[in-house]
Subunit: 345 residues, 2 copies
């Protein structure tokens, strides 16, 4: 890990703790603890594995830092990304707010190997924990006023909240699909656009805004994040069915067993063949995973998803090129994108 | 109803519909409908009884309009409160977001005589509906940028979100009290300060800010709203036990049956007498309501609550006097305060 990434991750963690500490007051200490537990700082299993990778806030700060050309800058301004750290924290809080509510909605018992907030404290408390995280996200982004002109703060806050409305739209679609029997490939993109890409595009959009990028460059950064999100999600969908763990059927992580409306599945449902027939009859059991994933591959689900993954990856990299990120942060951003897209280089 | 109040209520309703229409898009129409149902515009029982009274946004606009002295203004500026209508909508959206999540948390089946969102569409969808309302509230307050300088927009958004964090704190305390057996009067004010007063103080604070009040006058408006909220809640607590409906025991509305930690109850719990003894043994049945409320009165719970109500009412009116609201809006504000405080004049 290079030193700029390390410095950013440390600054993000400190800022997150500072923001969440708003609840660290007499009378609401147990409430504060519910948030610090979810954030991975306290309770059983606390530590780096429990915090998650903080990829979104990191991308945000890399975007900030990669906008300005080194040659035009003073050496003393090298750490000016620190001014945007509350925006990075805001994005991570949004991500975590959605996880806490998702876990209630999906009835999930485990998150990063630990008991979920609703399992530990009950759904009513967990709803309130998610709500508080969302509030803190908004407070964090508004804290930009300490370092940025007010009109930029309003712009950043609007981008963040537009993204959040997209998140709720994606979540609605995802939940509503559970009751539908007529799904096809056209139902995939709006759901994933909301659930995965909206937040990643907010990272690169807000980051470039706070790096004082011009409108056109902001748009390139935004679209880079958007297609990075789509490519990443499609990759994730492929691995959820044909990844090592999924294929052995030993892991409950198989998206087929969980009935997830992934891209290969929606593609095959649109074909209305043997796979669709089996899918509509009810949950896939662990024993069936190998046979059903083979069926899905036969009907073209894997090939199609891999083609889409390639296309979206290419779009993401094209927009990143157009965004033209500079310096060490720019290199880190490219490296991170390649890592997320599972490319060797 | 005078014409300024009427105009404001109409503008509020139009703005709310405009804000919620962000979800009225292909693919998310059923999602949009969940919000319009809760807001009282569509579905069974839609209409004025289902919308609620919109008291909070009305107070907000009355605050805006009552700041500036008529004599100093141009006739054409009479409706300048219209510029602040998206802030009023934001506050009503916050109120409704908290109701949707409260109903899940409290397991409530009915709201304003209609089935609650979670009963109609399930808790997972209802969590998402509340989340979307919260997002729309933030989008609404940021829409102020169309009419106000960016620094005022940031200020208003910060006040709103600080209030929201207080709401989650109050909600946490309320829920955590259910598991405690050592409650006393000192536990009442922080809970009610969050659950009821925070939002009312945000109404008058944001309203006066958007009416271009000076800092000191804003503070008077804010404190007026805060104590108005406390006085209103204490009144509500008294009526929930000794109001006509509650006393007959015929209505499930009795706070004693519901086990609500109201002011009279917390006062008596602190005394640790006969009432506290009975309360700790488990839920009060409908048949017991008369006897238990008499016991509570004997032990001074009613008298104490009435004294607090008087004190808070007086504080609210003192701060209102200091705020010195002007013109027709100022008169309406005083009238509304008196109505909420159940005073004849």
């Amino acid at each position: 890990m290079t030193s700029i990434t390390q410095s950013m991750l440390e600054a993000i963690e400190t800022e997150l703790q500072h923001q969440v500490a708003r609840l660290d007051q007499p009378g609401t200490k147990p409430f504060h603890e519910m948030l610090t537990y979810h954030m991975g700082w306290t309770g059983e299993g606390a530590g780096p594995l429990a915090t998650g990778k903080r990829i979104r806030p990191l991308i945000t700060l890399l975007a900030v830092s990669s906008v300005i050309d080194k040659e035009e800058k003073q050496e003393s301004n090298d750490n000016y990304w620190l001014h945007a750290v509350s925006a990075a924290a805001a994005i991570e809080m949004i991500h975590n707010f959605s996880l806490v509510h998702d876990d209630i909605q999906d009835n999930s018992n485990l998150r990063r190997g630990r008991r979920t907030v609703w399992v530990k404290w009950g759904a009513p408390m967990a709803i309130n924990v998610g709500d508080a995280m969302f509030v803190i996200a908004n407070q964090s982004i508004l804290d930009l006023i300490e370092h940025y002109p007010a009109d930029m703060v309003v712009k950043a806050a609007r981008i963040l909240n537009n993204c959040c409305l997209d998140l709720t739209r994606g979540q609605f679609l995802d939940m509503s699909y559970e009751e539908r029997n007529d799904l096809g490939i056209e139902d995939y993109w709006p759901m994933i656009g909301g659930k995965t890409s909206a937040l990643l595009s907010a990272c690169t959009h807000i980051g470039s805004l706070l790096g004082y990028a011009k409108e056109k460059q902001q748009e390139a950064y935004r679209l880079f994040g958007y297609h990075l999100g789509l490519a990443f999600q499609v990759q994730d969908d492929i691995l959820g069915i044909w990844g090592d763990e999924a294929l052995t059927g030993k892991s409950a992580a198989s998206d087929l067993v969980e009935g997830k409306n992934s891209l290969p599945v929606l593609f095959a449902l649109g074909k209305n063949g043997k796979f669709a027939n089996r899918w509509k009859q009810g949950p896939i059991t662990v024993d069936e995973v190998s046979a059903v994933s083979a069926l899905l591959e036969d009907e073209g689900g894997r090939e199609f998803a891999e083609k889409m993954s390639e296309e979206e990856t290419q779009k993401a990299l094209d927009y990143l090129k157009e965004a033209n990120p500079q310096g060490a942060a720019g290199e880190e951003m490219l490296g991170l994108a390649n890592m997320l897209l599972k490319r060797k280089q």
